[in-house]
């Protein structure tokens, strides 16, 4: 159980990477943007990949009636997510220490992993909701009102994952380094759970 406990302590610490590195990244390239515009989504706010990217994305999107990208104060998520991650890291490390000291069983490790997975899925769901709103809640006085071939108004929801061609832009949305930190951290806690489970079977 010692090894499993150490893994369970280390795993959640990887989530601290989310405070530094972006969780998600959306890149927008077009013929006139050979150096694409980019948006890094951090748990505490949006940042341009280059300094003026957000301003320039907003400048372009106003033609098609999209709202400006949210500032930190515009979305409750940017205040709540860092707190939730902080609590989860503390909880995970605590479980790890208790596991190391044989005070709790490996089931707690799985418990943390499942809770974190649920929170992650909720987070993704919330993120997708925002993307839908951002891409479809358009200004009725937009300069350019485009329609799909079937006559319905065109919307501009960026993909949650992967690539989409949107007007003249190639939009690519992928997990960024922060997400990989989280992934590795969570895999470590899962490994900790299995290791603990194996140890328990042996005894």
């Amino acid at each position: 159980m010692k090894k499993a406990g150490i893994l369970m302590i280390v795993g959640p610490l990887f989530l601290l990477g989310l405070y530094i590195f972006p969780l998600w990244n959306i890149m927008l390239g077009a013929p006139q943007y050979p150096d694409p515009l980019g948006l890094n989504i951090h748990i505490n706010g949006l940042k341009g990949v280059n300094e003026f990217d957000i301003q320039n994305i907003d400048g372009l999107n106003h033609y098609i009636g999209m709202h400006t990208l949210p500032k930190v104060d515009d979305m409750w998520e940017f205040g709540t997510f860092p707190t939730v991650i902080g609590i989860m890291v503390a909880l995970g490390v605590l479980i790890g220490i208790l596991g190391y000291l044989d005070k709790v069983s490996y089931k707690w490790f799985f418990g943390w992993f499942i809770l974190m997975s649920i929170l992650g899925i909720l987070g993704m769901y919330d993120f997708n909701e925002w993307l839908v709103d951002y891409g479809t809640n358009l200004d009725p006085n937009a300069i350019m009102k485009l329609t799909n071939p079937d006559g319905t108004p065109m919307t501009y929801k960026p993909p949650l994952l992967g690539h989409v061609k949107m007007l003249n832009f190639d939009v690519t949305s992928l997990p960024a380094s922060g997400a990989w930190f989280m992934f590795v951290g969570m895999m470590l806690t899962l490994a900790a759970g299995f290791l603990g489970w194996k140890n328990a079977k042996k005894q």
Partner: protein, 650 residues
């Protein structure tokens, strides 16, 4: 330049006929398929070198790529440039101020890129205005002219603007000698009364700011071209002279009588020391110093009233004359600093002086008389060798860093490659036609990049589709990476390039600025926030603080302007995206448009003379809604009492 060249042409006509067969031979199939591959820069790919070609009588500097010969930009320097508003906008008008008032044109000659330890460092490029003597400094991150200093006591600022190997000085010599100080006197009393000034303008190592440190007052010859010593000869500067006869009329004959003129060797380090120890004489002067400040986007003029002059006789050992045959034109120093080449433009041969021999002759005090007290060294004592070229009319020489030199021959219209040390001619290739300058990137430094040479011609004739009597000049690119030169491309240039400077692309491309930061804009009339726009009246002056972003002006409706008002449109471009300028023009504007880069502020004055509602619009196709980027100004009679008002979207 061109006039006397034409005269020379007729002098050399017989010789040109002789060399015709040779030209026909190589012009046939000169562009082989391998040549095409060598100059082909595929769409989306970039050139290997930057080339900065002077614009001559355009007054400006053009930027090209090598080997493609594609022109990227014209940088306005000494001439008003309606394309951007340079010299028309309130901010840039002071750049063209001189002691003779506003001079909106000049004859731009010899660009030179700044150096550190004799190697190109790509910080700035300097160029001289020949007609109303001036030196300009251009920033090589913004590719904009930042500073112009007028050179007093100079006339025909031609042996300029060459820099020393650590950019300590940019040097400006006078081609025409004049009375110093200027005064009312008979022209025929030129001899021994006129003087030639050689100006040493210090360059601030951090900001590049120019300061006329001292002027050497030399005998009244014509100081034609110059180059710095480098390596072992660092600390010296060499100037070719002609008209040592001191003729004041019909110079084409009277200034061509002496078999030998001089190369003046100036030990500037020695003079600098003399000046630093309080030497020299302060002389009243009157010259303008114009500096553009990137943070305020604005130029200011300071009039200077004094110049420090140095009499060469007061600094023993500072100046010597090296006899050089036949009115030498170009004065070129090889990358090691050992050889000083005098291109005797009225002869077939090149004269090469040896720096070591010169020093030995000076130490041995082997003089062959003196001119106005300046010792003349014996020709044989300083001569390293002569290149028996077989060409006629050598003008300029550049170096490839592999022990070879390349000299242009104007009359026989060719580039001749020869070897330093053996003085043997290795190769020769015709140019089309009558080449003046040539340029190898870094060819005037310790470290040339000997891959291409660009020949800049004075005569175009049949090279391109004809465009009436007036045509752009032609230039040729030769591949010089092998033993033999190979003509690989031919392209038209803009204005009349006199010399050029080139450097590897990687020296400049990565630091080329993309935008000006709005949050660093210190222009006193800038609008830095979207809500800062306003219109302010001060008597009959009206200041419009206007901002632009795709795709509108703020404000775009202005009322309360009256006939007789002087309306200043101060326009700030709020874009912070690469290559999104906005333009501004208004009907009846007596100046040019403005082209305002992202983050920049520029000002145009408009003096409405007629009552009415007058439109203004963006001149740069900035976006899909560019056509909608427009507005109106209502102009009322002078005696009306309509209040000033302005709006957007109401």
């Amino acid at each position: 330049m061109k006039i006397y060249n034409h005269l020379l042409m007729s002098v050399g006509a017989a010789l040109m006929l002789v060399s015709c067969g040779q030209q026909n031979q190589s012009s046939n199939g000169a562009l082989s398929s391998s040549a095409a591959e060598k100059v082909y820069v595929a769409p989306g790919e970039q050139d290997e070198y930057y080339a900065f070609l002077s614009g001559g009588y355009s007054g400006n500097l053009t930027v090209y790529g090598l080997p493609s010969g594609r022109m990227f930009k014209e940088i306005p320097v000494f001439s008003q440039f309606p394309t951007s508003g340079y010299g028309y906008s309130e901010e840039t008008k002071p750049m063209l101020t001189t002691s003779h008032g506003f001079v909106p044109w000049d004859d731009a000659h010899h660009p030179d890129i700044s150096q550190t330890n004799g190697e190109l460092d790509g910080r700035w490029i300097f160029i001289n205005g020949n007609n109303t003597p001036r030196i300009a400094r251009i920033n090589l991150s913004t590719f904009e002219t930042e500073e112009i200093i007028e050179v007093p006591n100079s006339a025909g600022n031609h042996s300029s603007s060459f820099i020393t190997e650590n950019t300590e000085y940019v040097v400006a010599g006078t081609r025409f000698s004049v009375p110093i100080p200027q005064r009312d006197m008979p022209i025929n009393e030129y001899k021994s009364n006129f003087k030639g000034s050689l100006s040493f303008i210090s360059v601030d190592p951090e900001h590049g700011h120019l300061d006329l440190k001292f002027q050497l007052l030399m005998p009244g010859f014509n100081y034609d071209l110059s180059h710095p010593g480098r390596g072992k000869s660092h600390g010296w500067f060499f100037f070719t002279t002609y008209n040592t006869e001191e003729a004041h009329t019909l110079q084409e004959v009277n200034a061509s009588q002496n078999d030998k003129d001089f190369i003046a060797a100036v030990n500037w380090k020695k003079i600098e020391e003399y000046v630093n120890n309080g030497g020299g004489t302060k002389m009243p002067a009157n010259y303008a110093h114009n500096v553009y400040d990137e943070s305020t986007h604005m130029a200011t003029t300071t009039v200077k009233k004094e110049v420090l002059t140095v009499d060469p006789l007061q600094v023993p050992g500072a100046v010597y004359f090296l006899p050089t045959p036949k009115s030498p034109h170009g004065c070129d120093v090889d990358p090691t600093g050992q050889y000083i080449i005098g291109n005797g433009k009225l002869s077939a041969d090149l004269t090469v002086h040896s720096f070591d021999k010169m020093i030995a002759a000076i130490e041995g005090e082997k003089f062959d008389g003196e001119a106005y007290g300046i010792p003349i060294l014996k020709f044989e004592d300083v001569l390293a060798g002569q290149v028996k070229s077989g060409g006629l009319g050598p003008l300029h020489t550049e170096f490839d860093g592999k022990g070879n030199a390349y000299t242009t021959f104007f009359i026989s219209s060719e580039v001749v490659k020869w070897q330093l040390g053996t003085w043997e001619v290795i190769d020769r290739k015709p140019t089309y036609y009558s080449v003046g300058h040539l340029m190898i990137p870094g060819g005037n430094s310790r470290k040339p990049f000997g891959k291409y040479v660009v020949a800049m011609n004075k005569i175009t004739k049949d090279r391109y589709l004809p465009t009436g009597p007036e045509m752009e000049h032609s230039a040729q690119i030769y591949d010089i990476s092998g033993d033999k030169m190979e003509l690989i491309y031919d392209f038209p240039t803009h204005g009349e390039p006199h010399y050029a400077a080139g450097c590897p692309a990687e020296l400049l491309a990565p630091k080329s600025q993309k935008i000006y930061r709005l949050d660093e804009n210190k222009h006193p009339y800038a609008v830095t926030s979207p809500t800062g726009s306003k219109v302010v009246r001060d008597g009959n002056e009206v200041h419009v603080y206007m901002s632009t972003i795709r795709s509108h002006f703020t404000p775009d409706n202005i009322e309360g302007i009256k006939v007789g008002d002087k309306v200043y449109f101060h326009i700030t471009n709020h874009e912070q995206d690469f290559d999104v300028p906005h333009g501004f023009s208004i009907l009846g504007q007596n100046t040019s448009e403005l082209l305002i880069m992202p983050g920049q502020t520029k000002t145009s004055v408009w003096e409405p003379k007629q009552v009415g509602v007058w439109p203004f619009y963006c001149t740069d196709f900035c976006s899909a809604l560019h056509q909608e980027m427009q507005g109106y100004v209502r102009v009322s009679p002078a005696n009306s009492n309509i209040d000033l008002s302005w709006s957007l979207g109401e």
